[in-house]
């Protein structure tokens, strides 16, 4: 019963605020559960939060929810190390949790401020599917009076690219929607590629909507810079060496996984782009080269 309730709250949050990142919504939900939790021990808290994270992953199976959950658990561990008294600890956790949520809501603006100088006047940008961070960056570029045009891939099977194009047209940016298959064709015309990420892995590579790897390979072949914009809570402790290494629970939607059918017949929703194809990552921790990402993760988790 509790599970269903939690799933319901989470789903409601995602629906009510479409602009918020799914990881932030997950952390907000987890903070809510933390406040309601009636346990008396840290271990009890951790196990009930693990259950909660599982429930959330069953609603939205993306990498971002998983990384947000991991981050929250880490946050609990770090705080519990400082205070041995449980009730005081819980108070501090709730307070810090609120501060953390406040800080991450500013992260998109920080990233936009870092990234928009890289868009020159007259640039032609290629982007993939629908990313709210990329949208914010382009908005910041428009605010600084730059003129540029955007190519968006259609991004099947959910046509997320059309949603992105609609949002861009509202900002009065000239936008062209292209077929996913036309990336190789259009690459010679573009000046830079700018994509978001659902997760940033330890090697400095990214996990993003299917098709991103293709774009990165084309960009590398034609010497175009490939920029990734991602908030720091998307850093996840995975180290995939190839596409097969990415866990199945991220590749397919939660509903598909539940039915338990043969996954070899299914199309994955995400792919992994290796760090050698990425030029720079723009995060709220600063502009990072792919090799700097693992440093950040180590600082947190070890």
């Amino acid at each position: 019963l509790e599970d269903a309730e939690r799933a319901f709250t989470f789903r409601a949050q995602l629906r009510d605020d479409p602009d918020v990142a799914s990881a932030v919504a997950a952390i907000r939900a987890l903070l809510g559960f933390l406040k309601q939790d009636r346990g008396e021990t840290i271990q009890g808290l951790r196990s009930s939060l693990r259950d909660a994270i599982d429930t959330l992953s069953r609603v939205d199976s993306s990498v971002a929810v998983s990384s947000g959950g991991e981050l929250f658990l880490r946050f609990i561990s770090l705080t519990s190390l400082e205070y041995s008294d449980y009730s005081k600890c819980k108070e501090i956790m709730i307070e810090r949790g609120e501060i953390f949520l406040a800080k991450v809501s500013l992260s998109r603006n920080k990233i936009a401020k870092l990234c928009h100088p890289f868009i020159r006047d007259g640039a032609r940008i290629l982007t993939h599917a629908y990313s709210r961070v990329v949208l914010r960056v382009l908005e910041a570029a428009v605010e600084s009076k730059k003129r540029f045009s955007v190519y968006v891939t259609e991004s099947q099977p959910d046509e997320a690219g059309q949603k992105m194009a609609k949002a861009l047209r509202k900002l009065n940016i000239p936008v062209t929607v292209i077929l996913d298959a036309a990336v190789g064709y259009i690459m010679e015309k573009v000046d830079l590629v700018l994509v978001g990420a659902e997760g940033v892995v330890e090697s400095g590579g990214i996990i993003n909507k299917i098709g991103t790897n293709q774009i990165a390979v084309c960009a590398k072949a034609q010497n175009k810079p490939f920029y990734v914009v991602a908030e720091s809570f998307k850093f996840v402790r995975l180290f995939p060496l190839n596409q097969q290494d990415v866990p199945d629970r991220f590749k397919y939607k939660a509903d598909t996984l539940k039915t338990g059918q043969n996954l070899t017949e299914e199309h994955p929703w995400i792919d992994y782009t290796s760090p050698s194809l990425i030029t720079l990552l723009f995060t709220d921790l600063g502009v990072l080269t792919p090799s700097a990402v693992s440093d950040e993760l180590i600082k947190l988790y070890l």
Partner: protein, 364 residues
């Protein structure tokens, strides 16, 4: 800043302080004017030293009582100096180093442990209580501490070329053919140090249109190093016979790329094609936390007289002539950076940067 200070506080301040304030402001103005004029090619080390001396004077004689005020003062003066000549990145680097020093000294006096890193990180996001440093508490010993730290930096500056040259024997072996371009004093010291114990050949690309390679070749041959000068067009042709390419640079950017003398990108591409290692000898004060982006402020164009003399009047009316001084070399083409703190790969530059500068200071 000094002049304004002298005016407002003149009633209470001693006449000596006011004089010193305006004299300091004049010195800064003269420094900025010299930078702006360009002209002669100043040694990066000299520019760095002059910047540090000026900053030390500001710390010593400036009107400030709290760390926050000092940082604002230095930031303002720093902005003035960097605006004079954006391609002289050493000025900005030294200003950022001093700002980091102030933060550290303040932190030490404030009693904060070294452990609590001031850097942004996921860890800090999760565990911080919220308030960031406001640098408001006055500490009387801060002035002396900061000046001492700047003196240490000046001493470190003196030794950079020697530290780099000391590593020469590890990288240069007997009977090797080394290629370099233009005239870099760091590379000159590096090669001279190796020549004391090893016998090798050097090919110098002349680096048109200023042909500084000629001067480099003369200096090297005085040390009995077998030197050959060749034109830039022949770089690719001889590259197959070269064992190593060793170059200097003007600036190292935050992603590990270089802003070096015009012609270096060609050299780097030729080296990559032949899989020849490209070694960059540069001291740490040339590391700048800027990324190559729209700003393009690193570019410097000088009179095209060198490319096409003004005597060619007829042609000049019909064409555009440019004479850029610098080149951008992407990090994939570089094998190793040799600096006064040792050898590092280009992918490690981000780490060195986090040790030298504070992220809040990247934008002066």
């Amino acid at each position: 800043m000094g002049r304004r200070g002298a005016g407002s506080g003149s009633a209470a301040a001693m006449p000596g302080a006011a004089e010193r304030g305006s004299e300091l402001s004049e010195q800064i103005e003269a420094f900025a004017a010299r930078l702006r004029r360009g002209g002669e090619r100043p040694r990066s080390e000299d520019t760095a030293r002059q910047t540090l001396s000026l900053l030390r004077k500001i710390v010593g004689n400036g009107r400030w009582s709290r760390a926050g005020e000092l940082m604002d003062l230095i930031r303002t003066e720093g902005q003035r100096m960097t605006a004079a000549q954006p391609s002289e990145t050493t000025v900005g680097n030294m200003v950022r180093r001093v700002l980091k020093v102030i933060r550290e000294e303040y932190g030490r006096l404030h009693g904060r442990s070294e452990e609590s890193d001031q850097q942004e990180s996921l860890h800090k996001l999760l565990t911080s209580g919220g308030l960031s440093e406001d640098f408001r508490t006055p500490y009387p010993s801060l002035r002396a501490n900061v000046i001492e730290a700047i003196n240490e930096m000046l001493i470190e500056l003196e030794g950079t070329t020697d530290n780099i040259a000391m590593q020469a024997l590890e990288h240069i072996h007997s009977n090797e053919v080394i290629m370099t371009i233009g005239y870099s004093r760091t590379v000159e010291a590096f090669l001279k140090e190796a020549a004391r114990k090893r016998k090798f050949q050097v090919i110098v690309a002349e680096c048109a249109p200023f042909c500084q390679g000629h001067e480099m070749a003369v200096r090297l041959s005085k040390e009995n190093i077998e030197t050959t000068v060749m034109s830039d067009a022949a770089i690719f042709a001889v590259m197959s016979r070269v064992n190593k390419v060793i170059i200097g640079t003007k600036t190292i950017l935050a992603n590990g790329a270089l802003i070096a003398v015009s012609g270096t990108h060609t050299l780097a591409l030729a080296a990559k094609h032949h899989s020849t290692p490209l070694i960059v000898c540069a001291p740490m004060f040339k590391l700048s936390p800027q990324f190559p982006n729209e700003e393009d402020s690193f570019h410097k164009f000088v009179s095209p007289q060198e490319v096409l003399p003004f005597t060619e009047g007829e042609i000049l009316a019909k064409i555009n002539v440019h004479c850029p001084v610098f080149d951008y070399v992407p990090p994939e083409l570089i094998t190793l950076f040799i600096s006064n703190i040792g050898g590092n790969a280009p992918s490690y530059i981000y780490r060195l940067m986090s040790e030298l500068y504070h992220p809040d200071d990247y934008e002066l």
